[in-house]
């Protein structure tokens, strides 16, 4: 008669069962985790550079067309100490920040409107997906006609390229909120706006972040394409540098700038969105057994 005589026994049993049922997470040192996360990337980079060197050594292309990794590396080092490259990076980053920020606002607003009002979904949801398949470069002639060779033209295309991904991420997230959670929210009394704010949007967050990540890639690509076409005087930008390097047949400079573009793209994707994504998945317990 355990409960009848001593209620404390029941509590102890409950506490014991709780302790036994909790998973035990293996501890790993920070250095080991960093090494495990980075060595495959370092290895992949080494392989790519190795192939590049082999192609250069094979002599299919002239050295002035395709310089080797060493030459480009030296050029990159000297460029990084050059204020013109830093200014170009600054201009491009400022543009992407504004463009991506606008895309985020507009995409979220459209996404929310579409999940809220069914007729809007019927009307424009497929149009938005269609917009995503349109290559951003195809917008530039129109953008230049509308806005001239200006920052607005670039922003226009960046927003058009990125906002649909943001909207789609949000819509997909809301569509896939588990019915059980919706029901739990209703039972707790979350109705209308509160249901969106407290249950539906938080539940849609992982998908929304996925949409943001994709939007970043589209925005970055659209902007660089735009900077090749829309060259504004006194405004050094990464795209402009590519174009000028080609005109002066400066292959080492061209490749050095390309590496900068690639690295920025990867760093923002991995450090910003990748981390955000991992943090959320860890909170939700979706990474169990994968770490």
């Amino acid at each position: 008669m355990r409960r009848a005589t001593d209620p404390q026994v029941g509590d102890l049993e409950l506490a014991g069962l709780d302790a036994l049922e909790l998973p035990i997470a293996p501890r790993q040192s920070v250095a080991w985790r960093i090494w495990r996360a980075t060595w495959p990337q370092l290895a992949a980079a080494a392989v790519v550079i190795g192939i590049w060197q082999l192609v250069v050594l094979s002599g299919v292309k002239q050295p002035w067309q395709l310089p080797g990794p060493l030459v480009v590396g030296e050029r990159l080092l000297s460029d990084l100490g050059d204020s013109r490259l830093l200014m170009a990076i600054g201009t491009t980053l400022r543009r992407i920040a504004v463009g991506f920020g606008l895309a985020l606002l507009i995409g979220s607003a459209i996404g929310i409107a579409i999940v809220r009002w069914q007729f809007l979904r019927t009307a424009i949801a497929s149009l938005i997906t269609g917009l995503q398949t349109m290559p951003s470069i195809a917008w530039f002639p129109l953008a230049i006609l509308l806005f001239g060779l200006s920052e607005q033209a670039m922003l226009f295309v960046v927003v058009l390229g990125a906002a649909p991904s943001v909207a789609n991420g949000l819509i997909a997230g809301v569509d896939h909120v588990p019915r059980l959670l919706l029901r739990a929210g209703r039972v707790l009394g979350a109705r209308g706006f509160e249901a969106y704010r407290l249950v539906i949007l938080p539940a849609a967050l992982p998908s929304f972040i996925g949409g943001m990540k994709q939007a970043w890639a589209f925005a970055w690509r659209s902007l660089l394409a735009g900077e090749l076409l829309v060259i504004i005087a006194q405004q050094p930008a990464l795209g402009v540098r590519l174009q000028l390097s080609r005109e002066f047949a400066d292959a080492a400079g061209l490749l050095s700038t390309m590496i900068v573009i690639l690295v920025i793209g990867i760093v923002v994707d991995a450090l910003l969105f990748g981390r955000l994504d991992t943090a959320i998945r860890r909170r939700w317990g979706l990474l169990e057994g994968r770490e």
């Binding site: 008669m1 409960r3 009848a4 209620p7 029941g10 509590d11 049993e13 409950l14 506490a15 069962l17 709780d18 049922e21 909790l22 998973p23 059980l180 959670l181 029901r183 739990a184 209703r186 039972v187 707790l188 009394g189 979350a190 509160e194 407290l198 249950v199 938080p202 539940a203 967050l205 959320i280 909170r283 939700w284 317990g285 169990e288």
Partner: protein, 269 residues
């Protein structure tokens, strides 16, 4: 509540219940139909049921008896097609899955319920921890649902239901997915909490042992359509023990009744 209070609800219940107390839940001649006209399924037919305040009533039935349908009606998630339904008090509903929000901690889940129940911000933190203490989870306030075991999640869900200031707890096979040992301990827990606070419970289960272990009364439902076949009072002293002989006899009796009901459907095709 006393019998002299002015009553807006239908009067016949006064007569039916005999005593002066208003039932917490009264369901009278309720019909519920699913599907389009012509090919519809009658889920509940002429169901009548009363639950007194502070009473613990278990609903058992085989598949297709409309247990969950009935619970959804009482919870206000669905509307009956015919009949009367009066519920006096705030309701909270617990499912077989804990249905915790994975982006919130255990305490966060309870605080969300408090917020939706209109509890002011500065009171929520302490109140959530007090409620988690009731289900013996004070040490797990900052854990996320995936860090807790199934039984612990279900206890957080229980704390969340208490946060709704509910006096009527509607439970839909809440321990159905737990292992036997955890379930036994949670029966003890639920019984203790109920003995302390005396809320009303309508508990749906397909497990006859569980129904006899917990209920003041076991209501046996027929299947397709769901009707009340029999109401069996469980006059066993509390706190109850799972192995009790009188309880076992009652379990056997109800099980036999349910099997008859299942057999009845075998001959209908």
């Amino acid at each position: 509540m006393s019998a002299t209070l002015p009553v807006s609800a239908p009067a016949p219940f006064e007569v039916l219940t005999g005593g002066g107390q208003q039932p917490a839940i009264s369901v009278r001649d309720v019909h519920k139909v699913y599907g389009p006209r012509g090919s519809h399924v009658l889920a509940l037919s002429d169901i009548s049921l009363e639950v007194q305040p502070g009473e613990f009533v278990c609903l058992v039935g085989a598949s297709g008896c409309g247990k969950t349908t009935l619970l959804n009606l009482v919870a206000g998630l669905d509307k009956p097609d015919a009949g009367e339904m009066v519920v006096r008090g705030r309701r909270a509903l617990l499912f077989q899955e804990a249905a915790l929000f994975p982006w919130l901690t255990a305490a966060g889940n309870v605080e969300l319920a408090l917020r939706l129940a209109g509890v002011p911000r500065h009171e929520r933190h302490d109140e959530a921890r007090r409620l988690l203490g009731l289900v013996r989870l004070e040490g797990f306030a900052d854990k996320r649902p995936h860090e807790l075991s199934g039984g612990m999640r279900q206890r957080v869900a229980l704390a969340r239901a208490f946060a709704q200031k509910a006096d009527i707890l509607l439970m839909d096979e809440p321990f159905g997915s737990l292992d036997a040992m955890t379930r036994d301990l949670l029966h003890d827990e639920l019984e203790r909490l109920w003995a302390d606070a005396r809320f009303t419970v309508l508990f749906v289960t397909h497990d006859v042992r569980e129904a006899v272990r917990l209920g003041d009364r076991v209501v046996v439902l027929t299947s397709r359509p769901g009707r009340v076949a029999e109401e069996i009072p469980v006059d066993l002293p509390r706190p109850r023990e799972p192995g009790d002989a009188a309880g076992a006899a009652l379990v056997a009796r109800i099980t036999t009744r349910l099997r008859e009901e299942v057999r009845r459907h075998a001959t209908r095709h």
